[in-house]
Subunit: 98 residues, 2 copies
Amino acid sequence: MDIENWRARIDDIDLKILRCLNERAKYSIEIAHLKKELLLPIYSPDREARIIQRLMDENSGPMSDDGVRRVFERIIDESRKLEKDILASQTNKPNKME
Amino acid sequence: MDIENWRARIDDIDLKILRCLNERAKYSIEIAHLKKELLLPIYSPDREARIIQRLMDENSGPMSDDGVRRVFERIIDESRKLEKDILASQTNKPNKME
């Protein structure tokens, strides 16, 4: 295989990751709606720490555990931004949920 | 569905993302080996910009395009770190490839 072949594989897997990220975002939005109903805060630091710890435990490499942590911190941060934006746009109030 | 059900779905999709990330990392390492043979630099800014632009073009939401960009910048950054570490450990020389 040459560089272009491996890059084509990366392009395929990136689309798969993109689909998973959007799927994940949909679930986060559902959770945001439920949290709003239940008057719970968007930010759940314990849940976020558990998510990241589990993924580091499940990691079989070649990514380092710290690399996994950094990528998922970014994913979770984006998910939180999205939830806040969506709830703010629905309530039409300033976004002060944290 | 309650919050716990949606969280279980997120946990499933996170494992899928983790598997994709490690698969992607394996391909990056293959590319790093080839680049080393061909004396090419690890850092390919044009390729990285194209990857991110394509994913933003393909993005159908609910993630924002900027969110997609930020997550993939992190993924690509981790992938570059890994390639450099692996090549540095193989050559046993200081890591000065960029």
